[in-house]
Amino acid sequence: MSTHPQSQRRLHAKGFYDEFPRKGGTASRATHYCAGCGHGLLHKLIAEAMHDFGLQDRAILISPVGCAVFGYYYFDCGNVQAAHGRAPAVGAALARCLPEAVVLSYQGDGDLGSIGLNQTLQAANRGERMAVFFVNNAVYGMTGGQMAPTTLAGQKTVTTPNGRDVETTGHPLHLCELINTLPAPVYIERCLLTTPANIQKARRAVRKAMEIQRDRRGYAFVEFLSPCPTNLHLSPLDAAKFVDEEMAREFPPGCLRDRTAEVAARPAPPPLEPLTPADIEAVLDKCVAVPAPPGLDPDFGTIRIKMAGFGGQGVLSYGMMVAGAGLADGRHVSWFPSYGPEQRGGTANCSAVISGSAIGSPVLSHLQVLVAFNQPALDRFARDVEADGLILYDSCLAEKPTTTTARALGVPASRLAIEAGLPKAANTAMLAALACSGACRVASERFSDMLAQTFAGKPALIAANRRVFAAATEWCQANLRPE
């Protein structure tokens, strides 16, 4: 960092601490900034505005990574230091978690326009409730004068020793103009930290951004073209001249947007009360629920069931109904789906386990029961069914398997569903078949009870599914011989 004790400047203003003990060292009222640097001046303008509007108790200043990393040495308000480029994300969270707080994000051009550009644009686009004070000094100051995204074409820096070649390193980024493409920001202005007249304009811009925060109106962005004599290798006077002439030509100063009058001041919402269990239960999804956890009954054994078919056939909710029926019957249960892209590829499968004791792996290799909703499901999973297991398949969509010794029962589930007036409910017909088969050792009415739970949000479907269930039960009783 470019800290020269002999060049340290005394800095006191309203809004600063009286002394700077966090800085340590001997000069307890001097800053760490170089002579002629714009940071110290901008600090003063911000601190003063914060003080004048009476916001020191409400304000949180976010120090960036860069020369201003030690903002918290000076600003007499709440202070948070953020990782390089992440001040907008940190500030967004502060603003959302603390409705009364005034969030001030202070960032350099490397921090804001390079490593943190995404966070900058996204926070601006969401219209986060914060003021962003952006110091554009056309270099990376803290790390020793490397190229910044705002370095001018042809400008020499330690990483552009021959001058910035825009063909290979890109053009200077215009941050105000970028932000001005977004609908959410309330106020966007570019100022210069040079002549007294320019500083007066900068002062007004700082105060405007501060007022917007005081009134909780939204996002404000102010850019400051700022001299960095140390890294430009210029005297303070010449550095200011560089800003006024070269930088201002590339980055025209002025107000790009001011919608302060159009957006209403927003009162802070009342503070949140702590939650109660009743609050939480009220928002939880309705789902299968029973009064007590399952007990231990090792004699019951463990039944592993796989259901598979096309996406959209209700395979996953079928599995949930199977697990739900088991739970309602006092058993340990688990359910595990195929998930992710596989699901989107048109096939779906899931596993359910019903057991008399705690369940190990919910992912199955050996099956006692396979419920196949189509031919590919049968082709893929029939071989995993144990020799004395059971295969139920929709005989409208799949052929009786020949390569397994397991019992295979065809149920015309698709036809039964159509005949009962609900073509999409073949899975309900298959549920009835599973219930009738007794393979899960779960009382049949537990399965039909699941229909009411599953369709609790769509009451009209409960009765229709019950009709399918009853018709399929009747068909099974007539056509499937008990074991």
Binding site: I280, H332, V333, W335
Partner: protein
């Protein structure tokens, strides 16, 4: 009240609410996305903050902001997203800020796939970000623990003012099991002594991790080390049939579920098998494991969905007190109960 059927990822959000969580920040990734879906649905309805961040770098820095405000904040992600969060986690640990990060581990390295693995072990348990810091890491093995460990996690995070990781896996995140809802909501911790809240009371507070003075920074490092040593008191493990066992699986998460089934099957065929399941991966319950490892004739079988990352921890903790073998699958594969039985029988020298 009562017992409901809930997915592991959803249980993490439910647990967070009972922990009193104020804010969720996250970016979608399979197999962790349901955490964001459910938080998006439930948090705003309860007046809590939900933000879909633009990337995981933003997620973790939003968590940092909320934590700096003294709020209970969390995020959830998997492999690539967790990698992006490491800088932020180092900042959280250095600034001594509490948070909970749920990692529903998928298969890597690189983009890998969305199947289950436990290969984020080193990244989350040993560090991952820069500098001398540790996450406190909890390893749930059921939907119930996905919920309960969130409450435990926030308690640890605020007690130690340190990031806590819930290191789950794709199976635990995606599976559905019965969940008993917690009976109470944890009371909010008093954070006014250190948080920055935009109030007169907290105006003098600062959250930072830059300490130019070498002595001051070394002192912070030593203080963190002492804190991690203190955390050993919170190490926890479950023993399943280890009392008279000759061969003991050491496994966490989904691996422990499969190993537990293998233990029961092995007992049926006369092999005295057991399972040692750490619930905390850092602090690691090394003493409890050592007590088992030092028994005469003991054999340990580490079962993990990673390439010996966890086995190395076991070796270090037991200081080669007994033979330790490794059963591992990767790439999204699980070992089967039969694989685990065979590994135990081989280890026990009982190759039929």
């Amino acid at each position: 009240m009562g017992v409901r059927l809930v997915k592991g990822n959803d249980a993490a959000v439910i647990g967070a609410l009972y922990a009193g969580c104020d804010a969720y920040f996250g970016y979608p990734i399979t197999p962790a996305s349901e955490i964001a879906h459910t938080a998006a649905k439930l948090f705003p309805r309860l007046g809590r903050v939900f933000v879909q961040a633009e990337c995981e770098t933003a997620s973790i820095n939003m968590v940092y902001g909320a934590a700096a405000a003294g709020k209970l904040s969390m995020t959830g992600s998997s492999g690539p997203g967790i990698s992006l969060m490491q800088e932020g986690m180092s900042f959280l640990a250095a600034s001594e800020l509490p948070c909970v990060v749920v990692d529903v581990v998928r298969a890597g390295p690189g983009l890998g796939n969305i199947g289950p693995e436990q290969s984020d072990y080193n990244q989350m348990v040993k560090g991952g970000g820069h500098g001398n810091y540790r996450n406190l890491v909890l390893a749930p093995a059921s939907v119930q623990e996905m919920c309960d460990f969130m409450i435990w996690g926030f308690d640890l995070a605020f007690r130690y003012r340190n990031p806590v990781v819930i290191l789950a896996d794709a199976v635990i995140g995606q599976m559905v099991e019965p969940l008993v809802l917690p009976e109470r909501v944890a009371p909010p911790p008093d954070t006014r002594a250190w948080a920055v809240q935009g109030t007169a009371e907290t105006r003098a507070n600062v959250v930072t991790s830059i300490f130019l003075d070498f002595e001051v920074l070394e002192a912070l490092n030593r203080r963190l080390a002492e804190k991690y040593a203190r955390a050993a008191a919170d190490a926890a493990a479950e023993n399943w049939r280890t009392e008279d066992a000759d061969v003991v699986f050491v496994a966490y998460g989904v691996s422990s579920r499969i190993a537990r089934s293998a233990v029961d099957e092995l007992r049926r065929v006369g092999v005295r098998a057991g399972l040692f399941r750490p619930k905390t991966l850092f602090p690691f319950p090394g003493e409890a494991l050592n007590a088992i490892a030092r028994r005469p004739g003991m054999r340990l079988v580490v079962a993990e969905l990673s390439d010996g990352q966890f086995r190395d921890e076991v070796l270090m903790a037991t200081r080669f007190a007994c033979p330790v073998s490794l059963l591992s699958r990767m790439g999204g594969n699980l070992f089967s109960v039969e694989d685990a039985m065979a590994a135990a029988q081989t280890a026990a020298g009982d190759v039929a």
